[in-house]
Amino acid sequence: MIQLFHVNKVYDGGLWALRDISLTVKKGEFVFLTGPSGAGKTTLLKLLYMAETLSDGQVVIFGKNTSRLKKRSIPYFRRNIGVVFQDFKLLRDSNVFDNVAFALRILGRKHSEINGRVMEVLRMVGLEKRYRDVPENLSGGEQQRVCIARAIVNSPALLLADEPSGNLDPENAARIIDIFNQVNAKGSTVIVATHNVAMVRELGKRTLHIDNGKIREDSTVRESDVQ
């Protein structure tokens, strides 16, 4: 499903974000990325949904080498990936319904199908009564849930989430992880970057600990967390 071979990412100005990353994530896996701020978690996710280009190495997703992907093919590639952005990236002028529906509209789905599916997903994230609100009228946690709803609405093969519980209270955080589990149970691969160690411990999923651009640990539960 996902393979990274000796991936390096150096930003303009010589800042190393990732160093010699090699890893494999199988189809249907649920993986947490942990590590301190600036460790390279977000950069790794960005390489996966092609918001950043790698400096060196190879990234293969869905059997396609992202470096060789033609520019016009990138939108179609991204349609298989749902992304929960750290800064939400909601369309400011669109209401909750339209933000979520956008991911289906680009696929050319019918109105009736869009309406039904969007409301179903909004119920999952507990925002079915706020569907007419624009993002600026929502709290940070609610905006994050809209972002999550948009990421999962088209049942993507790969779901990437960057700090999805960062703005949520424990109850909503648990709800979101439950949604991720549901998506994962249906066959989607899920990769979540988080600081929430308690959540990672509780779930007992595969965890990649990144620090200073390198994978320091790849384990079901990190040894240091257990101690």
Partner: protein
């Protein structure tokens, strides 16, 4: 496809509601561009009508030597020679008696002078109407020079020898109008460029999000193209409205003065084809604006 078009349409209408001033500024600029174009067309359209009316009044009168009458060999030769010329539309023989009668009727104050002369001093003549498309200065000069060499013709007269001077003035007016057009055109392009820059800035985040979610370039462009259509249509309709107001003002205030110089001259508004062309041009301008403002981010 159609569901996408419906989405683009609703998106564009909503964007108009959300950013009325931004869209209004684009509408005003397109309107300005269309107005400048339209006023030049209106000016050119009516100027051509003036020129046509002047050309229609141009006559050539050929004065014959004494005693030449229709039926004479010399007259037949002259008539044959004139009919061979492709620039002539019609000929009319005016005898010296007819000329005298006409003179007496039009200039009654001079009747005594004619009576005093005792005999008819006016020569017979042939009044020539030229074909419309040959009524330019050079063709006429060539034609008149040819007539002067024909045996039996005493003199040739063109009504309106001031026309040469008028056309010289017209060429000057056209040059000045052209220079003003270019200067205003450069100004409009500069304003459009800056407005597009502001538009680009306001749209950059939106475009980036759409790309990250997986929208194709065409899907991203769609609503902006529709917005461009609305802006173009709004701007061009506004310009046609202002043009009509300007036209009405000129017609009410200046037509009298013009008809004094050019009898029967009336200001006319642009014909339907030109109006549709202005609307089409405005829409095209709007679409180009929308396209340019998104293209920069879609190239990334």
């Amino acid at each position: 496809m159609f569901s996408s078009a419906g989405f683009f349409l609703s998106q564009s209408v909503r964007d108009f509601k959300n950013h009325p001033y931004l869209h209004l500024s684009v509408v005003v600029i397109i309107s300005l561009a269309c107005f400048i174009f339209g006023i030049v067309l209106l000016f050119a359209f009516n100027l051509n009508r003036v020129v046509d009316s002047i050309y229609a009044d141009i006559d050539v009168t050929v004065y014959l030597k004494p005693d030449i009458k229709p039926g004479d060999d010399v007259y037949k030769k002259i008539e044959l020679r004139l009919k061979e010329d492709s620039v002539i539309e019609s000929l009319k023989f005016v005898s010296s008696d007819e000329a005298l009668a006409k003179f007496r009727k039009e200039m009654p104050d001079y009747n005594k002078l004619i009576d005093f002369a005792g005999s008819n001093p006016l020569p017979s003549s042939i009044e020539i109407k030229l074909k419309k498309n040959t009524r330019d200065v050079k063709s006429m000069e060539r034609f008149v020079a040819g007539l002067s060499r024909i045996d039996g013709i005493e003199d040739v007269n063109i009504t309106g020898d001031w026309i040469n001077r008028f056309f010289g003035f017209l060429a000057f007016i056209k040059l000045v109008a052209g220079i003003i057009m270019v200067l205003i055109g450069v100004g409009v392009v500069f304003i459009i460029y800056n407005t597009v820059k502001i538009t680009i800035h306001s749209r950059s985040t939106q475009i980036e999000i759409m790309k990250l979610i997986g929208a194709t370039n065409w899907f991203i462009k769609g609503p902006f193209i529709f917005e461009g259509i609305w802006q173009g249509l709004g701007g061009s309709l506004l310009s046609v409205g202002i043009l009509y107001a300007v036209y009405s003002f000129l017609k009410n205030n200046l037509e009298g003065a013009f008809s004094f110089i050019f009898s029967g001259m009336r200001f006319e508004f642009l014909d339907p084809f030109t109006i549709v062309s202005i609307l089409g041009g405005g829409i095209l301008l709007g679409i180009c604006g929308g396209g340019i403002s998104t293209a920069k981010f879609l190239r990334k």
